[in-house]
């Protein structure tokens, strides 16, 4: 038996075990670990409130008192370190009395508002007082402090606070945010933002989760529940690709609070291993549950009749849709039908959708949200290594000794996986290198921050490849096995000029060499790339170059090392794995592989659409183009909203209006649903069964918290019903049956311990490797300002904008602008400015952001008001067919209204006074 100390658990560090005596028993403990941990491992229950395994001991509550021989005073076990030959007594009468006295001390200042407190029943102070039989609580000086309700999602009740400091420590040591601190006000100690100001942080709510009493309160569910009324359902979050495990706590078919492991697991961390997450969730997961109960949810199928929507029963809708689909299929063939499915549907729904489209409607025109970027990573990896995703696990990410992040605002897009990265640096001593064009939160934390110039990602990556080769750091294994590729690469990078790279990226060449050296010499290096690489021009080539870099650094060979391509939506990876793209059958099997096609045909009792070069199946941009030409007659949209997502320059509306039949399956009435012929209401993640595949390929279960409201149905039931009406029934009684079918067709997909089988490099690799390093003539552009669409921490896609809570926390549709640009425009935060691109202009409010470099403005991709995305142009990648519309050159100008504002405000004041005086006159 030995106690583990998470802080010292880096794989590189060798720990020595020492013997200590606890209550007469000799036990082993790691040298330098907390005495508290060692005692806990013997099975002794020590009361403690300020201790938590995820951060270092703090010692503020004074409950875990023990007797150490040779010391006069009682010792706080948490802050004491184990020493060889220590003799500790925990169960003596004196100790129990001391612990009782400590609890009494806390209870004397704690208010007795348990009947209305939200923590009642889960309160650690309550439990400990009960366990140790402390009942004498009536006399004492209770604090009288008004509740701090200024912050947006969290209330601070300092009467209940026992000043244990867990919230402060979790914020500082796990989140590395440091938003909370102790401060003094009116002679009382408070917890809150620095200087007692209004808290304005990420609102991850981890402080709420670790609070042992009810001092930090969830504003959105305050006083509306009691813990014993709640039913708990453990499911997977439906927002980003982290795939965090959430506990939905429901009362009478309403989600009241969302908690996670952090709120419930033993804070003593018995089963915590090095590299495990701390079990928390982010702001989206914790507070973004209101949309499930939204009044705006669709409840019945609707049909468009003379421009108006009429509600119809399900059976009628199914019959009508089936009839029209059958007619179109008979008249124009399967090629005239296309389908788009969102990256938010469960694996089972996606699987059934593609089976339905391919075997019943005889079309291969299906695509998914991965086409907005992630397909670049998947296709490039498939081409070179026959893998289709990340090659590391989350534990390996946390335990890596060098991470290079390229083009990723990781704390905003994937806040919980970002915590693993933070842990790898802060806890396990890894090196973190972040290359991004803005000064992101991660870049500020990085050991090697690399703020590169806007749009210079490609130069940066090429520079890295060159640096690895020129310094002779290339993996010897790679050189041995692929001599042809190695020489081809070496000659290809020879013409890359160091000075050009340095000039374009704005970094010194030595720094690029340092990055290359760190990654190449690392034992467990990780290469991570994200939206700025995959959804901007030249993505496919950039990903290929990154794979070259990973090969050169031996990341695919070393144990614990690997790559991590980041996708945006929660099940983008799963949607590709389940074959909702024209290129692949389920399991990322190429669609034109004859043997595999036969396997699927016999399993599905149907013939697959032909895979000839003439009709390879259309991807998302091709579907829109074909619709434009009038070749698409029916479009089935499952959770996709091309009108809301794609820029107007793609003429989506025009294209969609040419389609005879649009079926839209969505929980909400989206922009596209409004022009659809049939709108079918579907269940959200809380009402759904199935699985999501996360960023690293883990398959996580989604569990139904309550049955779907009203007449809403889950996706798979709708496909199943439709197939029956179309005369090719695909029937299932439950999701488990679909899961079993997937398991037979894609063996081992649900296994938790699956590893990517990295294939050998193809012969083509060496032949084509040089192509991507041929420097193109850089078009000389006179762009001074680049507009970029960015993801916000508080939102995910368009879905979260339907959520009242998240919109209350953050609904800033502001254009972020650098201080230098703002000064040039003489504008301040909140002013309207005019932004103009080749495709139009509009007025938008600005917010000055320190992190941005000069010449870059950012707008959250989630908001369409004002429709900034319509300023964008669309580029389609020649190879991967991915759509890029995230950045464009713009010009900024002072808005005319900005000059008029002063006058206008005076005018408004005058008008207001006039109306007020007239109102008064009327009253009299």
């Amino acid at each position: 038996m030995s106690s583990v100390n998470k802080q010292n658990a880096s794989p590189d560090r060798k720990v020595e075990l020492i013997d200590i005596v606890i209550d007469g028993k000799t036990v082993q403990a790691e040298e330098g670990s907390s005495l508290f941990n060692a005692i806990k491992w013997t099975g002794v229950e020590l009361p403690a409130m300020c201790y938590h395994y995820s951060f270092s001991p703090f010692g503020s509550c004074g409950l875990c008192l023990v007797e150490v021989e040779g010391k006069k005073n009682n010792v706080r076990a948490c802050t004491a370190k184990v020493i060889e030959g220590m003799v500790v007594n925990t169960q003596t009468e004196k100790m129990v009395d001391a612990q009782k006295a400590a609890i009494e001390k806390h209870l004397k200042t704690h208010p007795l508002d348990c009947p209305v407190c939200d923590k009642d029943g889960q309160c650690e102070l309550q439990d400990m007082a009960y366990d140790l039989e402390v009942y004498d609580i009536k006399e004492g000086k209770r604090k009288v402090i008004p509740e701090d309700t200024r912050a947006v999602a969290l209330d601070f009740n300092m009467e209940r606070c026992i000043l244990c400091g867990q919230c402060i420590n979790v914020c500082k040591e796990v989140q590395l945010v440091d938003a909370l601190c102790f401060y003094k006000k009116d002679k009382a100690k408070h917890v809150g933002a620095h200087g007692g100001e209004t808290l304005d942080c990420e609102f991850c709510g981890d402080c709420l989760a670790v609070c042992p009493v009810g001092a930090i309160v969830n504003k959105f569910s305050k006083y509306t529940f009691k813990p014993w009324q709640l039913e708990k359902t453990e499911t997977t979050c439906g927002f980003c690709s982290d795939g965090c495990t959430l506990t939905l706590e429901t009362k009478a078919r309403e989600i009241k609070v969302v908690t996670s492991e952090l709120s419930y697991t033993s804070k003593f961390g018995f089963d915590i291993e090095a590299g495990d997450g701390h079990g928390g969730i982010c702001v989206r997961g914790r507070f973004g549950f209101q949309y499930v109960m939204s009044d705006k949810r669709l409840t019945l199928p609707q049909v468009k009749n003379n421009g108006e929507f009429l509600e119809i029963p399900w059976f009628k809708a199914m019959i009508e849709i089936a009839k029209r689909l059958n007619d179109i299929k008979a008249a124009y063939g399967g090629d005239a039908i296309a389908g788009l499915i969102s990256g938010r549907c469960t694996n089972e729904s996606v699987y059934l959708f593609q089976r339905f489209m391919r075997s019943v409607l005889d079309t291969n025109n299906i695509d998914t949200a991965a086409r907005y970027g992630h397909m670049n990573s998947v296709l490039a990896l498939q081409e070179t290594l026959k893998i289709g995703g990340a090659t590391i696990s989350l534990q390996e990410l946390a335990l890596s000794d060098a991470i290079l992040m390229v083009g990723s605002d990781f704390t905003e897009t994937n806040p919980i996986t970002a915590l693993r990265v933070k842990a790898s640096m802060a806890e396990y001593g890894g090196k973190l290198m972040v290359a991004h064009n803005t000064e992101t939160k991660m870049l500020k934390l990085a050991t090697l921050p690399l703020q590169i110039a806007v749009g210079s990602e490609s130069h940066f990556i090429q520079g890295l490849v060159k640096a690895v080769l020129s310094k002779g750091l290339a993996d010897s294994d790679f050189i041995e096995k692929q001599p042809a590729a190695y020489t081809a690469l070496k000659s290809a990078v020879a013409q890359i000029s160091e000075t050009v790279v340095a000039e374009k990226t704005g970094l010194e060449w030595e720094k690029i060499e340092e990055v290359a050296q760190t990654l190449a010499l690392s034992k467990r290096g990780v290469l991570l790339w994200a939206e700025d690489i995959v959804s901007k021009t030249g993505a496919y080539q950039n990903v290929q170059r990154l794979i070259d870099l990973a090969l050169l650094c031996g990341l695919f060979r070393k144990k614990g090392a690997g790559i991590l391509p980041v996708c945006e939506e929660n099940n983008e990876q799963g949607a590709v794995d389940m074959g909702a793209v024209p290129e692949f059958l389920p399991g990322q099997i190429p669609f034109d592989l004859e043997d595999e096609r036969q396997r699927f045909e016999s399993a599905w009792h149907a013939t697959l659409p032909s895979a000839s070069a003439k009709r390879p199946g259309l991807s998302l941009p091709e579907i829109i183009e074909a619709a434009h030409r009038g070749e698409i007659k029916a479009l089935y949209l499952v959770g996709e909203n091309p009108l809301g997502t794609l820029p107007a320059s793609m003429k989506v509306r025009e294209a969609l209006e040419k389609i005879d039949l649009i079926i839209c399956q969505d929980p909400f009435m989206s922009e596209t649903a409004e022009i659809a012929d049939y709108v079918l209401p579907v269940a959200t993640f809380a009402e759904n069964e199935g699985t999501y595949t996360n960023i690293v390929g883990d398959v996580n279960r989604v569990v139904e918290a309550f049955s779907p409201r009203d007449e809403v149905r889950p996706d798979w039931k709708i496909f199943s019903d439709l197939s029956k009406n179309l005369g090719h029934p695909i029937q299932y009684r439950a999701v488990e049956e679909i899961r079993a079918e997937i398991n037979t067709l894609v063996p081992g997909y649900y296994r938790q311990d699956k590893t990517m089988q990295i294939g050998d490099l193809s012969e083509d690799f060496a032949r084509h490797v040089a192509d991507r390093y041929k420097t193109k003539e850089n078009k000389k552009t006179d762009t001074t300002v680049t507009l970029s669409l960015q993801q916000s921490l508080y939102h995910s896609g368009k879905l979260s904008t339907h959520d009242e809570n998240l919109m209350e926390i953050n609904s800033k549709n502001f254009l972020q602008i650098s201080p230098a640009d703002a000064e040039a425009l003489q504008a301040e935060t909140g002013d309207l400015i005019n932004i103009k691109s080749a495709f139009g202009q509009l007025e938008v409010k600005i917010e000055v952001a320190e992190a941005l470099p000069k010449g870059l403005v950012c707008y959250p991709i989630h908001f369409n008001d004002p429709p900034v995305k319509d300023l964008m142009t669309v580029e389609v990648d020649a190879k991967s067919k991915a759509i890029y519309f995230r950045s464009i050159a713009v010009t900024l100008a002072r808005s005319a209204s900005l000059d008029l504002k002063v006058i206008a405000s005076e005018k408004a004041l005058q008008e207001r006074e006039e109306t007020e005086s007239s109102a008064k006159a009327e009253q009299t």
């Binding site: 009288v144 402090i145 701090d148 309700t149 305050k222 405000s905």
Partner: protein
């Protein structure tokens, strides 16, 4: 001989008569039920009731539903609500509180579970009715019983060691809602200033 005498003199009958007639002089035991009632102890578990605080006449119940959780026959349903005043919560109460007395087993667990001593048992046991639905006691009826049998309810709580007769001690255990601090001292000015700009922008459009 003795037996003979006993038979002749009807000793046995005389003994019986003595016992019978002696009861003419004993204090009567039978209660004339509708007119007379038994004296019940304070711990008697009769009909349930809800109580108010004496001084403020405010409802004690905070609608926490702990009674419903403790109830072994699941006869209590509580729906809670909160009262807001100027954006600050001032009261938490049960908007509906139903006890199905036909299901109730009079175990008294609910009273024991109640954190604010809002529930109590009275000595009242007469609630027979010709309408079965009347036996689902709703919130109003429970408060009516509580008002009518206030003394009995108090007595029950004291007898079960849940409340002290000493008012001062009781008030020390009383919960109260935390006051709310909505804004900082310096902030209101800023907040007031902001909407003006927005209004100006709107008029300009």
């Amino acid at each position: 001989m003795r037996k003979f005498l006993h038979n002749v003199l009807f000793i046995e009958i005389m003994k019986a008569l003595k016992l019978v007639f002696s009861h003419y002089f004993v204090k009567e035991v039978t209660l004339q039920y509708p007119h007379e009632k038994t004296l019940l102890p304070n711990t008697q578990r009769g009909a349930l009731c809800l109580l108010r605080y004496e001084e403020t006449q405010e409802e004690r119940c905070v609608g926490c539903d702990l009674c419903g959780v403790a109830c072994p026959s699941a006869c209590i349903t509580v729906v809670s609500e909160v009262d807001e005043k100027e954006g600050q919560i001032v009261r938490r109460y049960a908007s509906s509180f139903d006890i199905d007395i036909t299901k109730c087993v009079f175990c008294g667990f609910c009273v024991e579970a109640c954190p604010v001593n809002a529930l109590a048992m009275t000595k009242m046991y007469e609630y027979s009715t010709i309408n079965k639905r009347d036996l689902i006691f709703d919130k109003n009826k429970l408060y009516d019983i509580g008002e009518k049998f206030h003394g009995e309810a108090k007595g029950y709580l004291v007898a079960h060691n849940q409340e002290n007769e000493d008012e001062e001690i009781v008030s020390q255990y009383r919960y109260r809602f935390p006051a709310s601090r909505q804004e900082d001292e310096t902030e209101p000015e800023k907040k007031k200033a902001a909407p003006k700009l927005e209004a100006a922008v709107k008029t300009n459009d």
